[in-house]
C-alpha cells in the first residue's frame, strides 16, 4: 500500500463534509488481495463456514486469474464504518477509493432503507456475523459437523426468503383468534356495549385456536425457526443467524444501482474539487474512475447486461444537473432501486446511454425489442424483485406437522425449477423433520405438487 495516501484521508473527509455529505467516521484498513477476495465471497469479513462459499471462492479465484474483477474496496456501514482497501492499490486508486467510500458512508447513514435495516440489525453487523461464526463453530463442536452442515444447507438455501417489512426480532403469532368482543380500544364497540347488554345473555366464550400461519408467510427462515415441530434450539439459532445476515444484505442488494452510483458520483466530484491532489495522481485517479463507471459495452459493441456503477453514476449526474443537489439528496434518502429507476431513468437518459430491451430465446437468438420505457424499467429491475428469489410462502401446517409451501406463480409468471426445488425441499426436510409439500405450476400452468420425503 502506498504510504502518503493516509495524509489525504483527512483532507478528503473535510472536503466531503463541506460538500454536504453526512457520514459516520470510517476506519480504513489495508488488507492483502487474498483477504479482499474472501470478503467479496462471503459478503462479510468473518462469516459462518459453509461449502457453498468454497464454490464461490473457486469461481472468484478463476475470475481473478482471468483478469476480471479487481476489487479496490469493500465498505461495511456502521458507526464507525469499516472499509477494507486492497494493499495493492496505488496512491491514486486509494484517493479515489477513499472518496468513494465516503459516498457509501453518506448513503448508508441517510438512505431510509439502509437505516431501517441497520436499526434492526444494529450498526455492528461485522461483529454480529463474527459472533454467528463462533456460535456455529461451537455448534459444530457440540453436535458434529454433519448436523450443523445440514442445518446450514437448509438455512442458506432460504437466505433470500425473509420479510424485511417485519421486524428482525419478531413476535410469534397469537395462538388464539382474537374475539372481536374484547377489542376494547374500539370506540364504537365501547359505546355500543354501554348502551345495553347483548341479547341472549352470556355467550359461552370459546377460545378458537388460530390457523398456522394465520396468513401466507414469506419469512420462511423466521417461520421455520419458530414453528418447526422438532427442531433443536441450536438449529433455530442457525436459522435466525442466517436471517439476521439477510436483513443486512437486503439494502445492499435492493439499492445497488443507487448506492454504487452515488458513491461513484461523489468520488468523481470530490476528485474534481480537491485541489490538493497532485496532478499525476489526479489523472491516474480519473483514469481509474472511468474504468469503474465504464459501460460494459465498449465503443461499438453491445452488452446484454448493465454495469450498475455506470447506470447509477449517469442517473445521479443527470438528477443533480437537472434538480440540484438538495433534491438529489432527498431522492437518495427516500428511494430504493425500484423507485429510483422507475422515477428517474428517463427516456432521454435511456437513449443517451443506448439502453435497450431484448428478448433472448433459449436457442441463443437475441432480438432487440421496441423502445418502451416502462418495460425497460421492469427489465432492469426484474432480477431484483423479492431479493431475487421466487415468492414462496408457508401457507399451512397440517395437524400431523406437514408443512405446506405455496409458490406464487401468478406474480412470478412461471413455475419453479423442479429439480432445484426438490433439492431445497430435501435440505429443509432434514430440519423440519415432517413431510413438506410445495405447490407450484408446471409448464402448462396447471398446479403441481412436490413432496419431501
Amino acid at each position: 500500500m502506498s504510504e502518503g495516501w493516509q495524509s489525504y484521508v483527512r483532507r478528503i473527509e473535510e472536503l466531503a463534509a463541506r460538500s454536504g455529505l453526512e457520514f459516520y467516521r470510517v476506519d480504513f484498513e489495508a488488507v492483502p488481495d487474498s483477504f479482499m477476495m474472501e470478503i467479496a465471497v462471503y459478503g462479510l469479513p468473518v462469516r459462518m463456514p459453509h461449502w457453498s462459499f468454497g464454490v464461490r471462492y473457486i469461481y472468484q479465484l478463476i475470475q481473478r486469474h482471468m483478469g476480471h474483477s479487481r476489487l479496490f474496496e469493500v465498505v461495511f456501514p456502521g458507526n464507525p464504518g469499516h472499509a477494507y482497501l486492497a494493499e495493492s492499490n496505488g496512491l491514486a486508486e486509494n484517493i479515489l477509493v477513499t472518496a468513494h467510500v465516503l459516498g457509501h458512508a453518506d448513503f448508508a447513514r441517510n438512505n431510509l432503507l439502509f437505516r431501517r435495516c441497520q436499526e434492526q440489525v444494529s450498526e455492528h453487523i461485522v461483529e454480529h456475523a463474527a459472533n454467528h461464526a463462533r456460535q456455529i463453530q461451537q455448534a459444530i463442536e457440540a453436535h458434529g459437523a454433519q448436523r450443523v452442515e445440514a442445518a446450514l444447507d437448509a438455512a442458506l438455501a432460504l437466505e433470500q426468503h425473509v420479510d424485511i417489512d417485519q421486524p428482525l426480532r419478531r413476535e410469534r403469532y397469537p395462538e388464539f383468534l382474537v374475539d372481536p368482543k374484547v377489542l376494547t380500544d374500539d370506540q364504537f364497540r365501547k359505546r355500543f356495549a354501554a348502551l345495553e347488554p347483548l341479547a341472549g345473555g352470556s355467550a359461552i366464550e370459546v377460545k378458537k385456536r388460530a390457523p398456522l400461519p394465520p396468513h401466507p408467510e414469506r419469512d420462511l427462515l423466521w417461520f421455520v425457526a419458530n414453528y418447526a415441530p422438532e427442531m433443536e434450539s441450536w438449529e433455530r439459532d442457525i436459522f435466525l443467524a442466517v436471517r439476521e445476515e439477510s436483513f443486512y444484505f437486503y439494502p445492499v442488494f435492493a439499492s445497488q444501482i443507487m448506492n454504487e452510483g452515488w458513491a461513484s458520483y461523489w468520488h468523481a466530484r470530490l476528485l474534481r474539487e480537491a485541489d490538493f491532489i497532485p496532478q499525476q495522481a489526479y489523472l491516474d485517479a480519473i483514469k481509474c474512475h472511468s474504468d469503474v463507471v465504464r459501460p460494459i459495452a465498449a465503443e461499438d459493441k453491445v452488452a446484454l447486461s448493465l454495469n450498475p456503477y455506470h447506470l447509477g453514476f449517469a442517473m445521479w449526474e443527470k438528477i443533480v444537473e437537472r434538480n440540484g443537489l438538495p433534491a438529489a439528496r432527498a431522492i437518495m434518502q427516500q428511494d430504493d432501486d425500484f423507485s429510483f429507476v422507475r422515477n428517474h431513468l428517463t427516456r432521454e437518459l435511456a437513449d443517451e446511454l443506448g439502453l435497450f430491451r431484448y428478448n433472448a430465446r433459449s436457442d441463443g437468438q437475441i432480438k432487440v425489442l421496441e423502445h418502451d420505457l416502462t418495460e425497460l424499467h421492469e427489465s432492469v429491475l426484474a432480477p431484483k424483485y423479492n431479493f431475487g428469489a421466487p415468492i414462496v410462502s408457508a401457507s399451512h401446517v397440517r395437524n400431523d406437522g406437514t408443512l405446506e409451501l405455496t409458490h406464487d406463480s401468478t406474480v412470478d409468471g412461471r413455475g419453479l425449477d423442479l429439480e432445484r426445488s426438490r433439492k431445497v425441499l430435501d435440505y429443509l426436510q432434514r430440519v423440519w423433520r415432517r413431510p413438506i409439500v410445495l405447490t407450484t405450476v408446471n409448464q402448462a400452468g396447471s398446479a403441481l405438487e412436490l413432496t419431501a420425503p
Binding site: 474472501e38 468473518v46 461449502w51 463474527a130 454495469n307 413455475g415
Partner: protein
C-alpha cells in the same frame, strides 16, 4: 476459533489473523470432500469409464462438476427479457455470446456455476476399499493349505537363553521386584535374567497366483480387449486386498499360447482361430513348473468371445478340469460387445459344465463397460461362496 473479528488490528508486529488462515480455502476443501463423497456414491459408474487404468499408476483422475447449493429458482423460460446497452436498434437480431444475459448482479449463488470441471485424483486403494464397502463384496477365504512356510515367532520368556536374546527391560523388572525383599543384593544375579524365547509356527499360505488368460484371436476386437483389461485390472485390485503377495501371470492364445509380461499382454493382438486348450495347457505347464498347488492359492480368469473351435471341446474340457482341481477359483468372462449371446457359446458351455460338476467356477457375460462392476461382484460373491474345491 481462529476467526475472531474482535482481535482485528492493533497487535503490533503480530501477523493478522487473516494472513494465517483462509476461510475460502477451508470451505473449498469441504466442497472437495463433498464431491469426493458424491463420487464415492457413484463409483461403479465412474470407474467403469474404462480410462482409469493408466499403466500402473496408483491414482485415477475423475472429472467432476462443481456442486451447486440449491435455491428456489424459476424454471428457465423459453424466452427471457433483459436490458442491454450499446448500439442496437429495435429489430436487430444477433446470437448470444457464451454468457447468460441479465445476470449482472451479485445474487447469492450465480447461475453460471456448474460449468467448471474439476479433475479429482483418487487413490486406487481408496477406491477399492470404498467399492468393497459399497458393493458389499465379501472378503475372500484364503484356502489355507498345508504349508512349509514356517516362521520363528517370539513367544514367552525363560531364565536361560542366548545372550543376544536377553530382555533387559524384563530383567530389570525382576531385579526391582527382588530388591524389595529384605537383605537382597543390589546387583543383578542370574535369577533376574530373562531371555526371549522363540517358537516355530506354521503360517497359512497367504500367497496367490492369478492367471489372466486372454483370447487374442482375430475375432476379439480392440474394444473387447479393453473390456477384458478393465475387468482384469479390478480383479487384481480385489485380490490384492486379500493376499500379502500376489503374483500375476498373463497368458494369451490364439491357436497357440504364449506367456507375456503385463504391458505387452494388453497390447498383443493376433489373427486366426481360437483353440482354448492351448492356453489352458500353457497355464497347466506354468503351474507344474513353478508352483505347488498345495502351497498357494491359484486363480484363473479367462476372457474370450467364446468362439472356441468345436473340435477343441474335448481337449479344452480335460485341460480345464485339471486346472480347476488345483485352483481356488476359475472364472470366465465372455466379452462380446454388441452381441449379447449370454454365454451360449462353446467356451461358455465348458464353464457351465465345470460349475455343474461342483467346481469353484463362474461365468459372466461382459458386454459393456457398465457391466464391469457387475462382473467383479459376480465373481467375488461366487468365489466366496464356492465350495472348497476337492
Amino acid at each position: 476459533m481462529d476467526e475472531d473479528g474482535g482481535n482485528r488490528g492493533e497487535l503490533s508486529g503480530a501477523a493478522k489473523w487473516y494472513e494465517l488462515f483462509s476461510r475460502g480455502a477451508r470451505d473449498w476443501l469441504r466442497h472437495d470432500e463433498k464431491v469426493r463423497e458424491a463420487v464415492r456414491a457413484n463409483l461403479p459408474e465412474i470407474i467403469a469409464g474404462g480410462d482409469v487404468i493408466n499403466g500402473g499408476a496408483r491414482t485415477v483422475r475423475v472429472p467432476v462438476r462443481m456442486l451447486e447449493h440449491y435455491h428456489f429458482r424459476l424454471r428457465r423460460p423459453e424466452e427471457q427479457q433483459g436490458a442491454g446497452q450499446g448500439k442496437a436498434k429495435p429489430g436487430d437480431v444477433f446470437s448470444a455470446p457464451g454468457r447468460e444475459p441479465g445476470q449482472g448482479e451479485k445474487g447469492p449463488g450465480g447461475r453460471d456455476e456448474g460449468e467448471v470441471q474439476l479433475l479429482l485424483e483418487f487413490k486406487i486403494d481408496d477406491i477399492v476399499d470404498w467399492l468393497w464397502e459399497a458393493m458389499k463384496l465379501p472378503n475372500l477365504k484364503a484356502r489355507v493349505g498345508p504349508s512349509e512356510e514356517t516362521d520363528w515367532i517370539r513367544e514367552g520368556w525363560d531364565r536361560h537363553g542366548a545372550r543376544s536374546r536377553l530382555d533387559r527391560r524384563r530383567s530389570f523388572k525382576e531385579l526391582v521386584k527382588r530388591r524389595g525383599a529384605p537383605g537382597a543384593t543390589q546387583t543383578f544375579i542370574d535369577e533376574d535374567l530373562r531371555f526371549r524365547q522363540l517358537a516355530r509356527r506354521r503360517q497359512p499360505a497367504l500367497h496367490a497366483v492369478v492367471f489372466f488368460m486372454l483370447d487374442v484371436s482375430g475375432s476379439m476386437s480392440d474394444r473387447d480387449r479393453k473390456l477384458a483389461k478393465t475387468f482384469f485390472f479390478w480383479v487384481v485390485q480385489g485380490l490384492r486386498r486379500e493376499y500379502r503377495s500376489l503374483e500375476t501371470l498373463f497368458v494369451a492364445h490364439t491357436t497357440e499360447a504364449w506367456e507375456f509380461n503385463e504391458p505387452d499382454f494388453f497390447q498383443v493382438s493376433g489373427t486366426g482361430g481360437t483353440v482354448a486348450s492351448t492356453g489352458l495347457a500353457k497355464v497347466r505347464e506354468i503351474i507344474d513348473a513353478r508352483y505347488n498347488p498345495g502351497r498357494c492359492n491359484i486363480y484363473l480368469f479367462y476372457a474370450s468371445d467364446g468362439d472356441n473351435s468345436v473340435s477343441d471341446a474335448a481337449d479344452a474340457r480335460s485341460a480345464l478340469t485339471a486346472i480347476a482341481a488345483d485352483a481356488c477359483f476359475t472364472g470366465y468372462v465372455e466379452v462380446s460387445s454388441g452381441l449379447s449371446r449370454q454365454l451360449a457359446t462353446e467356451t461358455g458351455k465348458l464353464f457351465a459344465e465345470l460349475q455343474a460338476a461342483g467346481c469353484a467356477a463362474g461365468s459372466y457375460a461382459l458386454n459393456d463397460f457398465e457391466d464391469v462392476w457387475g462382473a467383479v461382484r459376480h465373481f467375488f460373491t461366487a468365489e466366496a461362496q464356492a465350495p472348497e474345491s476337492p
